[in-house]
Amino acid sequence: MSAVATETTGSRVTSALGSFVKARETGILLALVLIVVVTTAKNPNFLFSNDGFRDLLLTPSILLLVAVGQAIVIITRNVDLSVGSTLGLTAYLTGRLFIDVPGIPIIVVFVAGVVFGGFLGLINGALVAFARVPALVITLGTLYAYRGINVLWTGSDRINASDMPKPFLALGTQSILFIPVLTIIAVVVLIAAGWYMRNQRGGRELYAIGSDPDAANLYGLNVTRRVLVAFVVCGALAGLAGVLYAARYGTVNSQAGSGFELEAVGAAVIGGVAIFGGSGTVWGAAIGAYLLFTINRALPILGVQDFWQRAVVGVLIIGAIVLDRLLAQRQSRKLVEARDPE
């Protein structure tokens, strides 16, 4: 093969790939916009009423935080199924702190939630990194274990809005310049995570580890530590989401956050994060989170029956994976044929 041929086919493929990656995220963003537009056309209140606009931004914000953490873990070719349980535990912890420590500063509660979530993530990460058991199995175990602890701790008890201070609850509903506070927090986290994953060595190494763990070892990357950190971050974000969950909904029982793990994985996958790691962005996962929740709210307005709503989400997830697979296959076939002499 001549060097010149390498260059031209190379750059063509790269530019095609570059636009494809962009298309992957712009694609779902367009889908999101389309749903909002169509639904608004049918019922203008969906967007243009005060509550409509707020709900559109507010509802997916908590899932966004969890999905960003999940995306970081999936990029390393792992998965964290315990995030829903982590969210539940920290949400209950939040309520308990307000009840048991009267007058506790709100910021301390936030820190406690994040640290506790990070600690639960550390347990996951340590088990995955040192026991060398697949993350799927470990976090399936901790999903039940954390929830079990939650049930044991909560019992039939329930945190009510009246147990928590007004300024804290206001965080869950208030807006600054029409943008809900919750959404601002989520977007700040998203920007920080997106920046880290793109511009820091640590972030790039997470991609490298997910792309080929064996090669990462040969490169001398500290795979164990990086994976551990990914799980801690994922847990900490689920912890933050737990605190915000308490603020947003006001009531927390022992089942808070059940099923969030699957929504988070779904959001990441729909957003183009490859389930086998190495590619995708937290931005995609964030848009995926918005798409998931917005569809759920739009379908009833569009007159789709309850039963079909979950099925639509399922189709979306399978469609996203099949699309990725097809595109990847076509891509690799093209790349191979490009270098083949015949």
């Binding site: 493929v13 060595r201 790039r204 490298a208 064996d214 270098r339």
Partner: protein, 506 residues
Amino acid sequence: MTTTATTPDAPALELRTISKAFGAVVALSSASLTLRRGSIHALVGENGAGKSTIVKIIAGLYQRDTGDFDLDGESVNFTSTAQSKAAGIAVIYQEPTLFPDLSVTENIFMGRQPTLSLGRIDRKLMRSQALGLFARLGVRIDPDRPTQGLSIADQQIIEIAKAISLDATVLVMDEPTAALSGVEVDRLFAVARSLRDEGRALLFISHRFDEVFDLCDTVTVMRDGEYIDTSPIADTTVDEIVRRMVGRDVTTLFPKQDAVIGDEVLQVSGLTEAGVFHDVSFGVRSGEIVALAGLVGAGRSEIARAIFGVDPYSSGTVSIGGARVPKRNPAAAMRLGLALVPEDRRKQGLVLESSVARNTTMAIRRSLTRFGLLFSPAENRAAREWASRLEVKSAALDTEVGTLSGGNQQKVVLAKWLATNPRVLIVDEPTRGIDVGTKAEVHRLLSRLAGQGMAILMISSELPEVLGMADRVLVVREGRITAEIDRADATAESVMFAATHQEVVA
């Protein structure tokens, strides 16, 4: 002359009487190697002599069991690849180890990207450095494309760029030229010489003697995990090196008895799969052993797998005794009398956790069943017969296969396939990683099978094995058969030449 630590004369890297065992398998028994600055040192030996194990010990991937490992006169104990890297050792492995999803530039600088304030990666600088490295290497690779889909040669170049950017004092290249064309090899050698002139120590592992003599100044020979000899290239010859490598008389070790060559049993014509192999046509007669020779990665195993129906092919035909073997249908291939003993017996040939009996009868399950049920006595009876015929040395039939030695494992795989009573037997690297005694047994067995009229297609990377066993040698280079050499004309040189040179016409 005495050399003390950190004098300029101290070798850049020195290994003394290193040993390393994996369970019962001894990879290195007593290996020694001394690399000096400003020198390109060749390490040669047959497949399985322990060269790759040495590389992995130098890289910090394996830890030695016994022996000394000095770097610049100081004893070192690497427990990770990061440590050896930090000590100035760069290793280019046989198989490129890149991240397929990441860009070429990121692959070169992963883990040590240039950064701006706040630890932000300086992408511009990184990219221009990558371009600088490629300019120095005289290649043009798009630094922004993902490495997925790059040719092996280009991937190898990226590995080299990576090693250069590390500014390593010791550079180890484990068969870097195996997949490169002539021009690419010249380019690589020019770079290697300039690195040598900068005072670095290079270790070059290769099976191609012309390259060793062209590039290196010193050569160390290894055999069966042991150090044999080190000598300046100028004072030695290819013949001498080969004699030291083999250490025994080639012809007596691999005896193929003459057999009656009958009709053509296996016919392969025009087999093609884009990017893997092209227009592969040949036949194998009954009583004949045909060897597929060539370098690792030339596409030999892929051809075998396609014939057996494990891998797809886009055009061409395979038939046995005139009957077409359908594509992608190993079960049908087996019914037609085809058997494939795969390359990687631990992963593809055996169920390691299962017993010798289970493994031996794996391929004939169906014929052993009564009313659709499989009873142990029937299984054991069949297994016992084959185990004794092949002299499998195991305590009992219910011994886990994983606990057997490599040679005995290979016998179990052979027994499994011979139990199907095949007309055509394809064996892929039949003696890789097994001891010399068992090797001879396997060769005797193959020879006997041919004598009984079986058609045998043997893939082997060991030249002496190819030359000793085969009635005919087909040389595969980059997915094409580049030469067909009769037993009488086959020599190490003719086979190696066809395996490495483009311009040979069959």
